[in-house]
Symmetry: C2
Subunit: 510 residues, 2 copies
């Protein structure tokens, strides 16, 4: 084979794909036996890799695929934390599945760009249709679908990018309504104290916050006992700001917070916004349902989106809990013109007749990036493979397992449940006599030791969060069920380990 290589040679593709597929198949078969949290030390992987790039590669016979696959086993695998392990209970899950992996493979093999409708119509229109399907599946009103006069969906990379797009759109809308000069440096953003850090990051990137702690134009609104945003606190904040001459441009409601899956009440929040906003000002209401949106494929969880008809946009991540590879954030808007107007710039080299006709969607105008992968393929294959009923079964199975785990925790007086569990995340904590509060109290230290002991076993991986409580925030352990391979035995093993190590840390506790 020449140095220039085969590039798109069908024969080498067949051979290599077989080998890589076999490697993945073997990985999947044993992922449950590997230590969930990587035990690699900082620099371990880096040091195992040559300092300089190869001058002559496999194509020039200077290297070999055998050595590449050997390096995958020897260097890469031990450096991975196994998100697909059945006992990965950390953060939120990052689902993959066979149809989704195949969708990624097909998209990679086609290698088209979907920045404009013109650059590959099917890349845009399959995405539009599949997003309409998703909107229907999670029960969004028709106004969020492309078949409505003003709505539609788009795949973004992450919910972080979705929050930024919403902020950019909200700022643009209020600026147009009020006049740019009148609102300059007077625009404000609202989210609860429990909102994801990406809202603060969006404010930083958009220039509404000078840093993560800057609250000049960003309000983190108080929450109630279930850690949901208090609409009356939101209204008060907007009113107080308005009195100071400030103008709201974005409110982000979180449906399923990262800390505890708390659910902000959308309808009361929408009413609070309408009541409190200055005359003529219509801030953008964005709903971040990154994890919880997936659960809404089941009718019994759709209450979480009650009032979503008042939102301007809503996003959720099938790449978390709906069997679809990262990256796949489904972002829906009722105001696609408002969204695209804020993101559009049309240099000559991108102009084309279909775009100018206004008949087509150019998705590059729906977010920051210009180039776009054919990401709807994987979602399409997931939906065709599982169907609505398969997705519901997937979600319900995890919720059932989380409920079971919660019942075990509640049955052991050494523990307490520290937040409501609407879905598949259980937040719990070892009780401690010194729980009067204060960060890093003796109780926090105890729970942190329990977490470290659990993760050191290699059999499970859990993470922690900080939960507001009377007398100060407290550390809680999070057990997030949602890995595609998790079964009851895995959750039972986690609980056995929690009990065992609780005994250990309590026994050695001062």
């Amino acid at each position: 084979m020449s140095v220039g290589g085969p590039h798109l040679d069908s024969e080498s593709l067949r051979a290599l794909s077989r080998r890589a597929t076999e490697w993945i198949a073997r990985y999947w078969a044993r992922v449950g036996e590997l230590p969930v949290l990587s035990r690699a030390a900082p620099g371990q992987v880096l040091r195992a890799l040559p300092e300089h790039p190869p001058e002559v590669g496999i194509a020039g016979a200077g290297d070999s695929w055998d050595r590449v696959f050997d390096d995958l086993d020897r260097i890469v695998l031990p450096g991975l934390t196994h998100w697909q392990s059945p006992r990965f209970f950390a953060y939120f899950p990052a689902n993959i599945s066979t149809p989704s992996v195949i969708g990624e493979l097909l998209g990679a093999g086609l290698g088209v760009q979907g920045m404009l409708w013109f650059t590959s119509p099917a890349c845009t229109e399959l995405e539009t249709r599949v997003l309409d399907w998703m909107a229907e599946l999670i029960g969004l009103p028709g106004a969020f679908r492309s078949t409505s006069p003003g709505g539609g969906g788009v795949i973004q990379g992450t919910a972080s990018e979705g929050a930024l797009s919403a902020l950019v759109a909200g700022r643009d809308r209020v600026r147009r309504a009020m006049g740019a000069e009148r609102v300059r440096d007077r625009l404000t953003v609202y989210a609860s104290t429990q909102a994801h850090s990406s809202v603060i990051k969006a404010a930083m990137v958009a220039g509404l916050a000078d840093g993560p702690d800057d609250r000049r134009r960003l309000r983190l609104v108080d929450v109630d006992g279930s850690l949901a945003m208090r609409p009356e606190a939101l209204a008060a904040a907007i009113r107080q700001d308005a009195a100071a001459g400030l103008v709201p441009c974005l409110v982000c409601a979180t449906v399923g917070t990262t800390g505890t899956t708390a659910v902000d009440p959308i309808a009361p929040i929408a009413r609070a916004i309408a009541d409190a906003s200055p005359p003529g000002v219509r801030p953008w209401l964005h709903v971040d349902a990154a994890l919880a949106g997936s659960a809404c494929v089941c009718p019994e969880f759709r209450w979480m989106l009650d009032g979503v008809e008042h939102a301007d946009s809503v996003c959720f991540n099938p790449h978390k809990w709906l069997l679809t590879n990262f990256d796949c954030d489904c972002f829906f808007t009722r105001d696609r013109r408002g969204l695209t107007r804020a993101h559009t710039i049309a240099p000559e080299y991108l102009r084309n007749a279909p775009s100018e006709s206004g008949e087509v969607f150019d998705y590059r105008d729906w977010h920051v990036p210009l180039g776009r992968r054919f990401r709807s393929l994987k979602l399409w294959l997931v939906l065709r493979y599982y169907g609505a009923e398969g997705l519901r079964e997937h979600v319900r199975g995890h919720v059932r397992l989380a409920a079971l785990f919660e019942s075990w925790v509640r049955g052991d007086p050494r523990f307490e449940i520290v937040a409501p569990r609407p879905l598949s995340l259980v937040c719990f904590r070892l009780r401690h006599p010194d729980d009067a509060g204060g960060e890093w109290s003796a109780g926090d230290v105890l729970n942190r030791r329990l977490l470290d002991a659990l993760n050191a076993t290699g059999r499970v991986f859990l993470t922690h969060t900080s939960v507001p409580a009377a007398g100060g925030a407290r550390i809680a352990l999070r057990l997030a069920v949602g890995s595609v391979t998790t079964r009851e035995a895995d959750v039972a093993e986690a609980w056995a380990l929690v009990r065992e190590h609780a005994g250990g840390v309590l026994g050695s506790s001062p």
Copy 2:
């Protein structure tokens, strides 16, 4: 198979991967025979797809893989513009290759998240090492590598996101140096009139421009006859702004503009910035080498990056011209602390011991998104497969073909070359007596008709740009060589078609 499905079942993966691979292999074998530019009408794909999602999928025996692959052939393929066609000469190329596709497959099958070092150390450290390799391959100084005290590289999605990160970092640096209140609403951004639209979009997103035409805080600096930024015009703009109390925070130099691959002179630009900036102000100098950076694997093209040692960041896209699937923007900085300080926010649920030790890179702090795919795998496989010599041969082959095409154009008196050709993009135009200027002159109309006629053949796809000229901008055709399968016969066919259709439009010209 149960409705819940196999999720990660090794057997179904093997079977489906074989089928998908075969489908791609057959696509690659015939991609050169398909109409390059899709002939789909708006709505054609959308209407061919069911309006509602399937209730029962393949897993529940309500659908079948046969039908999915049939839909791929029947609905999706005719709706694609074939970026991997050997006669795709539009925009810039979007290279893929067998090793890169396999890298995507492996990454999809592993399904890990690289947001923090902690969440999969190998995902971070392989990226760090491969980016160091790339920095070496394109001749960047050591200060851009992770092995230096302050530098390092990261993979971003697109150069658009890279420009936004640079702007956010530049703003943060100047804000810290001067005090936030002192520079509020006084920060300015500079790029040439030929810079990519993503710089303007970054200014919009970051809040420095109210819309694409807002030049309050954004200066598009004049260019010289070769369409490169005039450093003295930059210096004058910065000085004029400084006199008005404004403060520069970002200068974006473009190495290989999208319109014509013009090359802004980095060293003189760096001197202009140093000379003209107000005392104590050190704006961020970002180099956007999205296309041209790939060429710098060849020493003979590295002159384009002369002076890059003065830049704060530089990015280029192996997903354009270096055999690597989209998305893969390599972003290098000499000031990783400045970059990450502007992007960092650390909520409790992401805190972990390695991050707090400061010993590791957490790539989520290098850009907007939090979640991250294992994108370095594909780049690693490309480098190991081709080696440095394979990449150089790839680039040189395309440059040679573009030079050949340019010589043919120069040999035909009906045409003119309208911009210098440093690399693989030829910008040319049919001459017209009415070329005195003005947009959409008769000459422009003639060239637009030539472009439409060429693209209607289905054998080639070219796009156009607008080139500044005495008496007003003119439309030019762009022939961008760079598809991985393009051979001399393809470029010769393009030239034969250009000549033939030039005869047609000239003959019918009024």
